[in-house]
C-alpha cells in the first residue's frame, strides 16, 4: 500500500505545514485504500484553511495516519464504497455545505445551518421549526406498522427520535434521528476564552466529563507544550476508570431492571452512587467535573484519600462480584440476554463500532492498549472480546471491565501519589498547529482534534464521542428483533445523545 498519509502520535503537536496536502483524487483513493486494509476512521471533517475549506482525515491502523486535501464543492462520496464514512460525510455536508455525490443516505445529522451561509444541502430553512420535519425511511406493505418514539422519552433520559418499521412485533428497520440536543459546542470552542475550555469540555457529555476533559486537556498540553507529572497522570487514570465503573455498574443494573429482575437493578443503582461518591471525594463533583485541567489535576490524592478510597473499594468489590454473579447465573436473565440483538463481527467492522459495543462483537480494539495515554502504558490488563455480539456479550464485556477497572484503581492506590496541583494559567497555543488526542472513554474511542491559526487562535475544534460510531450499531441490533426488546438493547449500548449532537 503506497500512501502519503503521515504517521502521528496520540497527543503530539503537528505543525500544520507538515500535514500532507494531497490532490482530492489521491486523498480519496488513499483513504479508501487504508480502510480497505482494515483501517478505521478517527476523524474526517472539514475546516476553513488559509485559502479555502480543507477536508482532513485522521485514520487509524496500527498508527494514527493524517492527510488533508482541498474540499471540492461536490465530490464522489466515499460512503458509496465504504460504509465507515457514512456519518462523517453527512456531518461534513451539514457543517460546511459540501455535497458527497452518490451518498446512499444523505440526511441531516443535527439540524443546523452550515458554517458558510451556503444553501442547505438538505433544503431546510432553519428559521422554521425543523426537527422531526423529515421523511423517515418507510417500509411499505399492508401488514407494516410504524412506531414513533421521542424526542421526549418516558424515562429521565435525553431526547432523540426513534422510528420503528415493524411487521407484527418484529422490527424490520429502526431509524434513529438525533440532533435535538445540539448546543453548538464545537463553535463555542472557537471564540471561548481559554478559561472556559474545561467547563465546555466537561459539558459535552456529563456522564463522560472526565473522558472529554482529558481529551481537551491533552490537546491543549500538546499545543502549549505543558508537561504533566506522574502523579497527575495516575489521578487522571483513576478518574477515568471510576467514570467507567460507575456507568457500567449503573447500566448492568438497568439491564437487570429491563428484564424484570429487580434485586441487581436496585443494588447496582446504589453501588453506582458509591462510585460517583468516590469521584465526589476526590474532586468535589460526582461526575468528576473540576478534576482535570490542562497541565494536570486540581486535586491531590493524599495518603488519607488513598486510605478512604481503598477501604471503600475493599467493601464494594465483593458486593459487586456477588451481584454480577447473581445477574449472570439467573436463568431468566440469561434467556433474555442471550441471542438478543446480535450484531455480527463483520457488521460491526463495517459500521466501525468501538468500545464495549465493538468488543462485544469480537473487535478487541481498546485505546488504552492501542494508543495509551496517561498511566495506561504501565498497566497490564487483558483484551476484552466476546464474539457473540448480543446483549449478553455487551453486558459481559462491561461486567469484566468493571472488575478490571477496580483492580487497576486498587493497584494505583497502593503507592503514594505526589502531584503539584495546577491552577488556571495564561496558556498560549502554538500557532498553525494540530493535535489529536484519543482516549478510551467508557463508551469507547473518544477523540478531540484541535487546530490553530497563524496567531495561535483556535481555528477548528473537532469533537468525536464514541456514540457517533455506535448509534448505527443499535439500529443494526434491532433488525429482526422483537420491538419489546428495544429497551434492553438500548441499555446494553447506552449511547450519548448530547455527545453525538454536540
Amino acid at each position: 500500500m503506497n500512501t502519503e498519509f503521515i504517521q502521528i502520535n496520540n497527543g503530539e503537536a503537528v505543525a500544520r505545514d507538515r500535514i500532507p496536502h494531497l490532490a482530492f483524487d489521491d486523498f480519496r483513493s488513499q483513504a479508501l485504500d487504508i480502510v480497505a486494509n482494515g483501517g478505521k476512521i478517527v476523524h474526517f471533517f472539514a475546516y476553513p484553511g488559509d485559502d479555502g475549506v480543507n477536508l482532513l482525515a485522521i485514520l487509524r491502523s496500527d498508527h494514527l495516519l493524517l492527510a488533508e486535501c482541498r474540499a471540492p464543492e461536490a465530490y464522489p462520496a466515499l460512503t458509496a464504497e465504504c460504509e465507515l464514512f457514512h456519518m462523517f460525510e453527512r456531518e461534513i455536508a451539514e457543517q460546511f455545505g459540501i455535497r458527497p455525490e452518490g451518498h446512499p443516505w444523505l440526511k441531516m445529522v443535527r439540524y443546523h445551518p452550515n458554517e458558510r451561509d451556503l444553501p442547505d444541502i438538505f433544503g431546510n430553512d432553519y428559521r422554521e421549526d425543523i426537527p422531526g420535519n423529515y421523511d423517515y425511511y418507510t417500509v411499505e406493505g399492508e401488514e407494516i406498522h410504524e412506531v414513533a418514539v421521542g424526542p421526549v422519552h418516558a424515562g429521565v433520559i435525553e431526547p432523540g427520535h426513534f422510528r420503528f418499521n415493524c411487521i407484527g412485533e418484529r422490527v424490520l428497520h429502526l431509524e434513529i434521528q438525533l440532533g435535538y440536543q445540539h448546543r453548538g459546542v464545537e463553535k463555542l470552542f472557537l471564540n471561548a476564552d481559554i478559561k472556559r475550555l474545561p467547563i465546555l469540555a466537561e459539558g459535552i457529555a456529563g456522564d463522560t466529563a472526565v473522558g472529554h476533559s482529558l481529551c481537551m486537556a491533552q490537546a491543549v498540553e500538546a499545543l502549549a507544550v505543558i508537561d504533566t507529572d506522574t502523579g497527575a497522570r495516575i489521578i487522571r487514570t483513576i478518574g477515568l476508570e471510576l467514570e467507567r465503573i460507575a456507568n457500567h455498574v449503573g447500566d448492568l443494573g438497568a439491564l437487570s431492571g429491563d428484564v424484570a429482575f429487580l434485586p441487581p437493578a436496585n443494588y447496582c443503582g446504589r453501588m453506582r452512587g458509591d462510585f460517583l461518591n468516590m469521584s465526589l471525594w476526590i474532586c468535589g463533583n460526582r461526575f468528576g467535573k473540576g478534576l482535570v485541567r490542562p497541565g494536570g489535576v486540581r486535586f491531590p490524592l493524599t495518603d488519607e484519600d488513598r486510605r478512604v478510597l481503598t477501604e471503600r473499594l475493599a467493601e464494594l468489590k465483593p458486593q459487586i462480584q456477588h451481584v454480577i454473579g447473581l445477574l449472570f447465573s439467573t436463568p431468566s436473565v440469561r434467556s433474555r440476554f442471550e441471542g438478543c440483538g446480535v450484531v455480527s463481527t463483520p457488521d460491526a467492522q463495517k459500521l466501525g463500532l468501538v468500545g464495549p459495543a465493538g468488543r462485544a462483537s469480537g473487535i478487541a480494539y481498546d485505546v488504552r492498549r492501542c494508543f495509551p495515554t496517561e498511566h495506561y502504558q504501565r498497566l497490564d490488563f487483558p483484551a476484552n472480546a466476546e464474539p457473540s455480539g448480543d446483549v449478553y456479550a455487551r453486558a459481559k464485556v462491561r461486567a469484566d471491565e468493571v472488575l478490571q477497572s477496580i483492580a487497576i484503581i486498587e493497584s494505583l492506590l497502593s503507592n503514594p501519589i505526589e502531584t503539584r496541583c495546577v491552577e488556571d494559567g495564561d496558556t498560549k497555543l502554538a500557532p498553525a498547529s494540530l493535535a489529536v488526542t484519543v482516549n478510551e472513554g467508557w463508551r469507547g474511542e473518544l477523540s478531540h482534534c484541535l487546530l490553530t491559526d497563524a496567531d495561535g487562535k483556535i481555528l477548528r475544534y473537532k469533537i468525536k464521542d464514541p456514540s457517533f460510531h455506535n448509534w448505527n450499531g443499535l439500529a443494526m441490533a434491532l433488525r429482526d428483533t422483537g420491538i419489546s426488546d428495544f429497551p434492553l438493547n438500548n441499555k446494553s449500548y447506552n449511547l450519548s445523545y448530547c455527545g453525538f449532537d454536540l
Binding site: 443546523h112 421549526d129 421526549v152 448546543r183 472556559r196 436496585n266
Partner: protein, 247 residues
C-alpha cells in the same frame, strides 16, 4: 434463590435517614458559596475576571448561582479570602433574583407558594424533560429513585406522561431543536402545574451561554417556580428543594 437471598442480606438497608437526620458531604464538595465582604476590591476583581462563567459581580460582592458551575476557581485563586464554598447543599430558591447571593439564601419554605403545598404536599407527580442537558443533571435526578434516596417514600414520583404529571422538571439549556417539544410537553401537562428548572444550563444557559443554538434561561420561555442551581445539583440539593418547597 439462595444466591438472591445471600445478596439481599449482604446489601442490607441503605436508605438515608435524611431529612430527619442531617447528612454531611465530603470536604471537597462545593456547596453554597460564602463571599467575604471585607476582601479587597483588587482580589474581587481578579476573581471575577478568572471566573469561567462570569458569575461574579465584584462591585456588589455577589455570586450568581444561576451561572455558577461550582468549579471552585474563585476559591482557589483567592485562597478562600474572597469566596469559599461551604458544605451546605441547600441551594434552591423560588425567585430568579434570589440566585444572586453573598452567602445567604432566602428561606425556600417561606417563599413556596402555599397553594402548591396544599395541592401537591401529599402527592407530586413530575414529568422530566431533558432539553439539551448533558446527562449529568438527568442522572442525578434519576438516582432519587435508587434505594439510598427513595423519593417515592415522600409521595413524589417521576412519571412517563405529562398527562399524568403535576408539573415538569426541565434540565439543559433548551436547544433550539428541543424548544417545541418542551413547550408541547408543558402544554400537555394539566393545570395547575409547576415548572422546576434544574442545573446551571436551565437557569442561565450554563457552560453554553453565548451559543445561538440555546436559550439562556428557561424563565425566558416558561414561568419557573423553583430554581435548583448546580452543575449538576447534588441529588440531596434536588431532594431538599422538592421536600422544602412542596411539603
Amino acid at each position: 434463590m439462595l444466591n438472591t437471598l445471600k445478596n439481599r442480606f449482604e446489601q442490607g438497608h441503605r436508605t438515608s435517614a435524611y431529612p430527619k437526620t442531617p447528612i454531611k458531604l465530603p470536604a471537597r464538595y462545593r456547596g453554597l458559596p460564602q463571599v467575604r465582604a471585607q476582601a479587597s476590591s483588587e482580589l474581587a476583581a481578579e476573581c471575577a475576571a478568572a471566573c469561567p462563567q462570569e458569575a461574579i459581580d465584584a462591585g456588589r460582592r455577589l455570586i450568581d448561582l444561576g451561572r455558577c458551575v461550582f468549579c471552585g476557581t474563585c476559591e482557589r485563586l483567592s485562597e478562600s479570602r474572597f469566596v469559599s464554598f461551604s458544605q451546605n447543599f441547600e441551594l434552591a430558591v423560588a425567585a430568579k433574583d434570589h440566585l444572586l447571593t453573598g452567602g445567604e439564601l432566602p428561606s425556600l419554605a417561606e417563599h413556596a407558594k402555599k397553594h402548591f403545598k396544599k395541592l401537591f404536599g401529599r402527592s407530586l407527580q413530575l414529568r422530566q424533560v431533558s432539553a439539551a442537558g448533558c446527562n449529568a443533571c438527568e442522572a442525578d435526578l434519576n438516582v432519587l429513585a435508587t434505594p439510598f434516596f427513595d423519593l417515592a417514600r415522600f409521595g413524589i414520583n417521576f412519571v412517563a406522561s405529562p398527562r399524568h404529571a403535576d408539573g415538569i422538571v426541565v434540565t439543559g439549556p433548551v436547544s433550539r431543536n428541543m424548544k417545541t417539544a418542551l413547550l408541547q410537553t408543558y402544554e400537555a401537562t394539566p393545570a395547575p402545574k409547576v415548572v422546576i428548572a434544574v442545573g446551571s444550563c436551565a437557569l442561565s444557559g450554563g457552560p453554553f451561554r453565548g451559543s445561538a443554538e440555546i436559550t439562556e434561561g428557561l424563565d425566558k420561555l416558561l414561568p419557573v417556580d423553583l430554581y435548583i442551581p448546580g452543575c449538576p445539583p447534588h441529588p440531596l440539593t434536588n431532594l431538599h428543594a422538592l421536600l422544602t418547597y412542596f411539603k
